[in-house]
């Protein structure tokens, strides 16, 4: 498949790297320097304005091509998509950063969007909703909801005081309806079995029904009895504002937003009437202390500057704030952030990138989410109608994959070996990167 990527920035590069293996990738970037960045990849780089019809005609050949606009300018992305559609009619994916554009180019009240953009991707919003979910669950470092909230996914980092490290998983008597689906030790993610013994410092992903997970939280995760009541957000940009708005919806939560630009503060104060909007620097220790930020249950640092976020997060760490969520824009920095003790470093490109890659694959498998910065996928598989009901233990195994939940009509089954898999079931599968292809082609 021929894929044209507009914009050779961070996300363009990551996309090209992921896609170049199986596809012909052409990158169009306005600046000539972009070519140097892509030197290590087997892709063609064209420099120039990506909305130029001649340039587009040269890059795009037929309708089955894919056009991904992910430059830093929303306007350029939108116009490039329109121009591309006109030139060759490819499938178009458009990245936007502003809420206004996202709203105007996605369907309103179920009506199809008028404009020729097949998919609008708003990474800032994906990041914001991810953070908003994580903020509200004490101690959790990743929170996902599937099947309309029937299935939850929670990830915890195990501390030395955790009761989960005392015995192998099969002897722990975890609540019914909960499965440990992934364990990350250092850089490696694996799928645990009954004999796996968890250790302090491991990050464990649990999947299961809402009530069961809440029970798990009560019984096995220390210090989770206190509700999240006080949160601080550093950086009131698109992401910060979106998080604040999501958190304000129906939660009794004291919210502080610290933003450097006075002008932006006015906008924040307008949109967040009940939050405390502070005009200042998130790394200003005096301000943090005067406003008693150390009393927060969660601190979220989402400025557009990685260094600022790191510094603010380290200050917060020193103030012993229980949970610190930090935005990391450069993927290369992710590991560093984690190694200095940031609880939840998040990169908005990871989720967006996997969404793009998933939408390019034409199978009956849907990517619902990723865990551990893309080390693992949460996939939804539909069992084909021709499939004969089989007990789980009798099914062919894939190393590095586990069924976390079975959705059958309105039922949610957290499976054991004796449970049946039937035609028409929706399976929620957690798998490692290596097992991804095998899972996709299982049926």
């Amino acid at each position: 498949m021929r894929i044209v990527i507009v914009g050779g920035g961070e996300i363009g590069f990551q996309l090209a790297r992921e896609l170049a293996g199986l596809n012909d990738v052409i990158v169009i970037d306005e600046s000539p320097e972009a070519a140097n960045r892509f030197a290590s990849l087997d892709v063609q780089v064209i420099s120039g304005n990506p909305t130029h019809p001649e340039r587009l005609r040269a890059a795009l050949l037929r309708e089955s091509d894919t056009f991904i606009a992910c430059s830093e300018s929303d306007e350029l992305n939108l116009i490039a998509c329109l121009a591309a559609k006109q030139v060759a009619g490819p499938q178009t994916l458009c990245f936007v950063s502003k809420e206004e554009y996202y709203n105007s180019f996605t369907s309103i009240d179920g009506e199809e969007p008028v404009l020729a953009i097949d998919r609008v991707i708003w990474p800032q919003h994906m990041l914001a909703s991810e953070i908003a979910r994580i903020v509200l669950v004490p101690r959790a470092i990743d929170v996902e909801f599937f099947a309309g909230g029937r299935v939850w996914l929670l990830e915890y980092r195990l501390r030395p005081v955790s009761p989960l490290i005392k015995a192998p998983l099969s002897e722990l008597r975890l609540p019914k309806g909960v499965l440990a689906v992934a364990v990350t030790e250092g850089e490696r993610m694996s799928i645990p079995t009954g004999s796996t013994r968890l250790e302090a410092g491991n990050k464990v992903v649990f999947m299961g029904r809402e009530k069961a997970l809440l029970k798990l939280q009560r019984e096995f995760i220390p210090d989770t009895d206190r509700k999240v009541r006080d949160a601080t957000i550093i950086g009131g940009g698109t992401v910060g504002l979106a998080i604040a708005k999501m958190l304000r919806q129906g939660n009794d939560l004291h919210l502080k937003v610290i933003e450097k630009s006075a002008e932006r503060c006015n906008r924040l104060a307008l949109e967040l009437p009940s939050a405390l909007v502070l005009n200042g620097d998130g790394t200003d220790l005096e301000l943090l202390e005067a406003e008693q930020v150390y009393r927060s249950d969660v601190l979220v640092s989402v400025t557009t500057n990685d260094e600022k976020n790191l510094l603010a997060s380290l200050l917060a760490k020193q103030m012993k704030i229980p949970k610190i969520i930090t935005r990391v824009d450069k993927l290369a920095n992710l590991r560093l952030f984690e190694s200095v003790g940031i609880d939840v470093p998040l990169n908005m490109h990871v989720t967006a990138m996997h969404t793009v890659i998933n939408s390019l694959q034409k199978t009956n498998v849907e990517l619902l989410s990723t865990v551990e910065h893309g080390k693992g996928d949460v996939l939804e598989l539909r069992v084909p109608d021709s499939f004969r009901a089989t007990q789980l233990k009798d099914m062919r195994r894939i190393d590095g994959a586990i069924i976390g939940a079975i959705l059958r009509n309105n039922q949610t089954i957290v499976p054991h070996g004796d449970d049946l898999i039937k035609a028409g079931d929706q399976l929620l599968v957690v798998c490692t990167q290596e097992a991804r292809q095998a899972v996709r082609h299982y049926f």
Binding site: A262, N266, A269, L270, P273, L276, V277, L278, A290, E291
Partner: protein, 502 residues
């Protein structure tokens, strides 16, 4: 500042203003006072003639600058009051007294210098009420509605005259806005006339009192004001219409268009309702206390001296509500001689004088929205003392009020109090007591009408020293134009650019 252009624009208005005195002239003719009607003919003819001469000073067509617009508005209100005073002069009042009465009419103040009501014709009392009715929504707004020619220059004039800090328009064209507001205003007035007539008030009194209610004016043809009719039904009707007169007309227009949300969600309207309810409750309690104690307070002192102690609690409530609305909306009607009430009751009314009605209504005073914003601003500052870096903008109806507007409101209130203070000092210098000096100043500055002391609702301003009268005339004029319009023009440097031609 091009004086000829200003005169030209004032002339445009004045020329047609000359037609208005025909109405009281007809009234006098109907009641057979034809010799009195000549005063109206002189006023009307004089205004038209002067207007035509002024109009010819400039060929017109030029755009008014901001300060010229303010000058036009200030001049129109002054000139109109001068020509409106001619009928009073014809009826035998002195020139200063006539100007006082005329200015009190057009600015919807309702303070009177008339000592003997029996001395004047029906046409005069109709004229008094009519001037208030015209002044209620604004003389210029009326002419913008009626004259297409004024519509272009009218935008800034309209807003310089309209009460309140914010520019509000219902339609894209200012002329349509003016027409919509005047239609609503006229319809409400007609409704009140019919209702009052239905309670048995003579048609003439129903008309005059209605004209003075919707405009929040307060001139009544009865020397004892509304108390003189001794009709609780009429008082309830007037209570309702005073309430409407103090409510933003634009929002009432939306209610008629089928969206009452705008009104019910409006923070100023809510504050207005709360102020009315709380003040009424306090005043009722104060009046009720009077009935328990031995201190003398009299109900309907003029007509039937009956101690309030014999009144029912519903009567106390009615008088409390009536007087709260009358003072808050700057109408100035009296359902009872509140000058005889005790100090506790009077104190409540005095404080209400410093608030006023809603912006965009016929009411005078500093306006509720300004008080509301300044209070919000003060609380935001208190909050900021604890959180110095917090961004806490003042909001109104879910919108942020800009710092510029907050600054202009602060300046407005400061200047308002400054003008008040200076006029109190001047009045006190002429030997009036504190209560009279204070209430005379605020009652004229806020276009309310009667005060306490020697200028109570059953008394009049006739015995005051001429200088005091002049100060009060100035107060009424500057108060109706919300102070800034006139004060801008009083700055000497504004006049440095003044020239006769263009």
């Amino acid at each position: 500042m091009r004086l000829a252009l200003i005169a030209h624009t004032v002339g445009l208005v004045l020329r047609y203003f000359g037609l208005i005195p025909i109405l009281p002239l007809v009234v006098d003719f109907l009641y057979g006072d034809w010799q009195e009607s000549i005063g109206f003919a002189v006023a009307g003819f004089g205004a038209s003639l002067a207007g035509e001469i002024m109009r010819r000073l400039h060929r017109g067509g030029a755009d008014l600058s901001r300060v010229e617009g303010l000058a036009v508005v200030a001049a129109v209100w002054l000139v109109v009051a001068v020509f409106g005073a001619i009928p009073y002069v014809w009826s035998g009042l002195g020139a200063l007294d006539s100007l006082f009465e005329s200015m009190s009419g057009f600015t919807t103040t309702g303070a009177t210098i008339i000592q003997d009501f029996g001395f004047f014709s029906r046409g005069i009392f109709f004229w008094r009420s009519l001037t208030q009715w015209l002044g209620g929504l604004g003389v210029i707004a009326l002419f913008i509605a009626v004259l297409p020619k004024l519509a272009i220059a009218g935008r800034q004039l309209f807003f310089a005259e309209a009460p309140g800090p914010a520019e509000e328009r219902l339609t894209p064209r200012i002329r349509q806005t003016a027409i919509a507001l005047w239609t609503l205003y006229a319809a409400l007035t007609l409704l009140q006339i019919l209702l009052l007539a239905a309670t048995g008030l003579p048609l003439y009194d129903a008309v005059c009192n209605s004209l003075a209610t919707l405009s929040a004016g307060g001139f009544s043809p009865h020397p004892a004001s509304i108390a003189g009719y001794a009709s609780p039904a009429a008082e309830w009707i007037i209570i309702l219409f005073m309430f409407l007169a103090g409510t933003n007309f634009s929002l009432q227009y939306y209610v008629l268009k089928g969206s009452p949300r705008n009104l019910l969600r409006d923070e100023e309207f809510r504050a207005y309702v709360i102020i009315v309810l709380v003040a009424t409750l306090l005043l009722s309690l104060a009046l009720y206390q009077l009935t328990l104690g031995t201190r003398a307070a009299y109900l309907n002192a003029e007509t039937s001296p009956q101690p309030l102690s014999q009144a029912s609690s519903l009567t106390s409530l009615r008088h409390a509500l009536f007087q709260v609305l009358s003072i808050l909306t700057s109408t100035g009607f009296a359902s009872d001689d509140f000058n005889l009430w005790n100090d506790q009751a009077k104190m409540i009314l005095l404080l209400l004088m410093f608030i006023g009605g809603s912006a965009g209504s016929a009411a005078g005073g500093p306006k509720i929205v300004r008080a509301l914003l300044i209070v919000k601003h003060a609380f935001a500052e208190l909050f900021k003392a604890v959180h110095p870096q917090a961004v806490k903008p003042v909001r109104l109806n879910n919108r942020v009020v800009s710092m510029e507007i907050m600054r202009s409101i602060t300046a407005f209130l400061l200047l308002y109090l400054l003008v008040f203070a200076v006029s109190v000092l001047v009045i006190a210098a002429f030997g009036l007591d504190i209560i009279t000096a204070i209430t005379a100043s605020i009652a004229t500055l806020g276009n309310i009408g009667p005060g306490f002391g020697t200028i109570g609702p059953m008394a009049n301003f006739g015995d005051l020293h001429p200088v005091v009268k002049a100060v009060l005339i100035f107060n009424m004029w500057i108060g109706r134009l919300e102070i800034m319009t006139v004060l801008v023009l009083l700055q000497p440097h504004v006049w440095k650019t003044a020239r006769a031609g263009d």
